[in-house]
């Protein structure tokens, strides 16, 4: 089964009583794409995933997974998707193997097929040494691998991952992403929510949802080129400094500074485009080589978009 579009939503909306949690969402994700779905807490990310996985009924709009309408083809949709929820949702009192066995049965895999898939995924996720171990004794990163393995047993074409790396260490995060890239190479579409900007940078395309509304959607380059991110008449610099906090304070009385954020030992500045690098090195007392023109990062993009929403000009 090879559909041209893995995920497609048109005007997807979820309302609870008075509140619209997801508002008129239209996105499209191709097979093999890693779609990063970002947004502040409570912006509607999980609700969107739950609608697409059939856990929450949409109030309006339509959505299809691999060209299958989620309203009418629920069963076929369930066979095409894998889901990894925000918190560990396998059975802690069951062993790794028993959890996989259960999900293999839940997906109605024939016994020989089940055995084969469990073996393949144990290798893929490197869970083999832990097969007989109770799931609740695994560390966070290994729990996520198990959850991913369980979500992949039936070879889904689309996998939804709701903050899969929340609360796990950087090495485990890197390992999990390696697995996701492998899946992407196999043509599996991945729909990933995250708060980590470095993860967002790894996605093929990124959507940004704020208060239920999709306010940005596209590749990194497209998002960084959005007019609201670097408004006309402004440019971005990074300024390396020995004391970023002090330098940040210094920016307050510089009328040409529109925005300033600390990144490690750097300060990212949004300034009016008449400002030269030499002026910045003079004003902040740093070596000329420490000032550089930069492109916006995804974080800059989201901060700019969120602020524009919160305080419309």
């Amino acid at each position: 089964m090879s559909a041209s579009v893995a995920i497609e939503t048109r005007g997807l909306t979820k309302r609870y009583a008075q509140k619209t949690v997801v508002d008129n969402l239209s996105i499209s994700v191709a097979p093999g794409e890693i779609y990063g779905f970002l947004g502040p807490n409570g912006s509607g990310k999980s609700t969107t995933i739950k609608m697409l996985c059939g856990l929450v009924a949409p109030s309006a709009g339509a959505a299809a997974i691999c060209d299958l309408d989620i309203r009418t083809r629920g069963d076929a949709v369930r066979r095409s998707i894998g889901y990894m929820s925000q918190s560990f949702s396998l059975y802690g009192d069951l062993t790794v193997e028993e959890n996989l066995e259960f999900y293999g049965r839940a997906y109605e895999l024939e016994p020989h097929k089940r055995k084969e898939r469990i073996a393949v995924l144990s290798r893929f996720s490197q869970l083999e040494p832990y097969r007989k171990q109770r799931a609740d004794t695994l560390s966070g990163g290994w729990k996520q691998r198990l959850a991913l393995a369980a979500a992949l047993l039936h070879e889904p074409r689309v996998v939804f991952l709701d903050e899969p790396t929340a609360g796990i260490d950087p090495v485990a995060r890197r390992d999990l992403w390696d697995l996701l890239f492998q899946l992407s190479e196999q043509g599996v579409a991945l729909f990933v929510t995250t708060h980590y900007m470095d993860e967002a940078e790894r996605c093929t395309r990124v959507g940004y949802i704020y208060d239920g509304e999709l306010i940005a959607n596209g590749s990194r380059e497209e998002l960084k080129a959005l007019p609201g991110v670097t408004p006309p008449g402004t440019i971005r610099y990074s300024v390396r400094t020995d004391d970023p906090v002090h330098t940040l304070a210094q920016t307050r009385d510089k009328p040409y500074v529109r925005d300033a954020t600390i990144f490690g030992d750097m300060l990212h500045l949004l300034v009016t485009d008449d400002v030269r690098a030499t002026q910045l090195s003079d004003d902040f007392g740093v070596a000329p080589g420490w000032v550089e023109r930069i492109d916006p990062s995804l974080e800059d993009v989201f901060v700019a978009l969120t602020r524009a929403k919160r305080h419309p000009a």
Partner: protein, 369 residues
């Protein structure tokens, strides 16, 4: 997303998983099996304390040799202790009304003369029926006293017992069969509702709902293991009743077991109903209590339903346990059969089926939302 409510797929997968949970959770499994037996032992012994040395009053208007023989027999019976000897019938009655004694014997003036003349002679025994614990054994023992006399008194004297305050005397056996229903309802409701709500609480249910498992497969898969535990509990409790408390089963055992399974279905339905409403395990526990306490109080387990206000009697008709008590007592104590009990049997099965269907609809709808 559409999901067919009568889709049985995934049933065996859920069963597989539930059996693993149970095997891993030895404490719950142990409690589920041991608790019912402990409960019936505690309840059973609490109401089945061996009755001896019942405080008794005597009015002896005869004072002849036969009456002395009768009093000796009374003392020798272990069952009655003569704690009061009174002079008038009014005092005799008062000794019971005041609660000082639970039995009283009225020996008429001409007892010895009648026995000597070869006539029949009656001794009246008054028994306090307000406490069925004492009344039943006292009733039985009083009629047997004459048996221990020597002839000719043995043949002539007839003790005529009269139960005061509670003419429709309840036997001590009355509560033990009823316990079967209470225990079965509690255990199955707790196990099903806690198991389902627990999954919802931990978020594991969402992960299951993403798979193609059918609504019916999930539901039956969740309740079948607990139905099996409930069934084993029922057999254990029945065995305890029969062999520890020596309550004989007068009626058909197969009918009794078949109807117990029918009752189990309704109890499981109530458990499902609780789990479709409760969001946390604490709520589920409170829900089980909220449903079970009125069930126990209104079904006639402790209190005679015919003495309740009409409204409460009517409420009792809506409780499956009410009918199950009638069935249990009918079959176990009176040896009643299907023909005698078809009304409560039909009512119980219909009620249980309705609860199960209603709960299933709620259960599948809730998770499809």
């Amino acid at each position: 997303m559409n999901r067919n409510a009568f889709d049985l797929r995934g049933y065996s997968a859920i069963i597989y998983k539930e059996l693993r949970h149970l095997a891993r959770d030895r404490v719950t499994l142990g409690l589920a099996v041991v608790l019912p037996v402990v409960q019936i032992l505690i309840f059973g012994y609490a109401i089945n304390t061996k009755v001896e040395h019942i405080a008794s009053a005597v009015l002896n208007e005869d004072r002849g040799i036969v009456s002395r023989q009768f009093l000796d027999a009374l003392r020798g019976s272990q069952m009655f202790d003569i704690t009061e000897t009174v002079a008038t019938r009014g005092q005799l009655l008062n000794s019971i009304v005041s609660g000082r004694v639970r039995a009283a014997f009225d020996i008429p003036p001409n007892l010895s003369a009648n026995v000597r003349a070869g006539h029949a002679a009656d001794v009246q025994a008054l028994i306090d029926g307000s406490d069925s614990t004492f009344a039943q054994p006292a009733y039985a023992a009083s009629t047997a006293i004459a048996d221990s006399l020597s002839p000719p008194a043995k043949a002539a004297i007839v003790v005529i017992p009269r139960v005061l305050f509670n003419p429709g005397l309840r036997s001590a056996n009355f509560l033990v069969p009823g316990l079967i229903g209470v225990i079965m309802q509690l255990i199955t409701m707790f196990l099903t509702s806690l198991s389902i709500v627990g999954e919802r609480e931990r978020g594991t249910l969402d992960q299951v709902m993403v798979t193609p498992i059918g609504a019916l497969g999930l539901m039956l898969g969740k309740i079948t293991p607990y139905a099996a535990i409930g069934f084993v509990d029922m057999l254990l409790v029945l065995a305890a009743m029969r062999y520890i408390f020596a309550v004989p089963i007068a009626g058909n055992l197969v009918l009794l077991i078949a109807l117990s399974i029918g009752f189990l279905m309704g109890a499981l339905g109530l458990g499902l109903l609780v789990s479709s409403i409760a969001r946390t395990q604490v709520q589920a526990m409170l829900g089980v209590f909220a449903l079970t306490l009125p069930s126990i109080l209104l079904s006639g387990f402790f209190f005679e339903r015919s003495l309740m206000p009409p409204l409460l009697q009517w409420l009792g008709y809506a409780i499956p346990l009410t009918y199950f008590f009638e069935i249990l007592r009918g079959i176990i104590l009176r040896g009643a059969g299907f023909a005698d009990l078809w009304v409560p049997i039909t009512a119980m099965l219909a009620l249980g089926f309705a609860v199960l269907i209603g709960a299933s609809i709620r259960f599948t709808r809730r998770d499809d939302a």
